[in-house]
Symmetry: C2
Subunit: 188 residues, 2 copies
DNA sequence: CAACTCATGTAAGCTGTTACATGATTCG
DNA sequence: CGAATCATGTAACAGCTTACATGAGTTG
């Protein structure tokens, strides 16, 4: 089962983000940014739907100088719905990787092009690992676990590529040699 | 830049899949299945668009007993377009993970529920690693690299969770103790 | 004989994003 | 003084998936 925008909003509300604006930040720069996304166009309609279903309550909050906001609170029914959704068999993680697709055409690339692609991918993983390591103020055990996991897995991933990129380059050499045989067959 | 359906079809064609039906298999069960997806509704219109742009050619192929098929061939212009698309700065890998979202609410789960979630996630990684290791008949260096990378990273990921799940459970205990202090303060 | 494979294609629908409208305030 | 931040909301659009139409042949 895919996690839909309503469930994601419910989760964000449960995690302490209590306005539409704040929920967006949770998915843009906040704790969910690395494994889910959600934008205004989905959030506001979702909150209204949740309100109609009684899964959240809402009270307007006037502020001086700033626009009024609507502060949402998850209800008991909402918490049950969230739990139920999270316990349902989850869809397996969906990875959409342009790098991998590109890498599957490594044999079509010039050495410099491939090198740049790998450099970018390695750097991307190390940067993400560093970014995760720098996060602080994380309050829940699950988030702490996920951050450590992300950082360690990203580092291991980057290291794996560094350790195996030479083998890839050799394999490409061999592949090309096999496909474009030497004209002079007397040697090797 | 995201890889659109036309570029993905061009790639599949370059990789040797030469009908709409075969291209779908490449994304459903074939070499691209783990990092991209594409279905009929996108493939057939994309092929027609590519044909109109001169990036592919097409000749009908009659078969006895089976429906006629259209065999597509990528042109030189098509190969250039594919290369150009792959060299463009790629969007960073997008991970949509229901497991991670669920795990961020680990402190709300009963021990058995959390345990099942982690078991499923670990098993999913080991299963994928095994599945990748079982693949044979891979002809290009890039694909061989990706398969080894996927298998090794998945195994390392699964191992990481096994080695750190106890820490998560302890952290949850500590979190709950801090939030629901003992009524009798005289002991520990 | 039901169900699946081969094979192309379209229409409807779902889900989500982008961009805009609105408007005060604060920061550089 | 322009740009960003706070704050809600909608309309238009993009992109992809699902389901269907069609139909012969094969597998269990």
């Amino acid at each position: 089962m895919p996690l839909d925008s309503k469930t994601l909003c419910l989760g964000a509300l449960d995690a302490g983000f209590n306005t539409g604006y704040d929920i967006r930040k949770a998915f843009e720069n906040g704790p969910f940014q690395h494994y889910q996304s959600l934008s205004y166009g989905s959030i506001y309609p979702a909150l209204n739907a949740l309100l109609a279903e009684g899964l959240v309550t809402c009270r307007p909050h006037s502020q001086d100088g700033r626009p009024d906001k609507k502060v949402y609170t998850i209800t008991e029914a909402g918490r049950s719905a969230l739990r139920a959704a999270l316990l349902q068999p989850l869809e397996f993680d969906r990875l959409r990787s342009g790098f991998m697709f590109a890498l599957s055409f490594a044999h079509r690339m010039a050495p410099g092009e491939l090198s740049r692609l790998l450099d970018d991918y390695i750097r991307g993983h190390y940067d993400l690992a560093d970014e995760l390591a720098r996060i602080d103020g994380v309050t829940t055990p699950g988030d702490r676990f996920l951050i450590r996991m992300g950082a360690d897995v990203c580092r291991a991933w980057g290291r794996w590529i560094e350790e195996n990129r030479a083998a890839l380059e050799h394999d490409i050499q061999a592949y090309r040699t096999a496909r474009v045989p030497l004209r002079d067959g007397t040697h090797g």
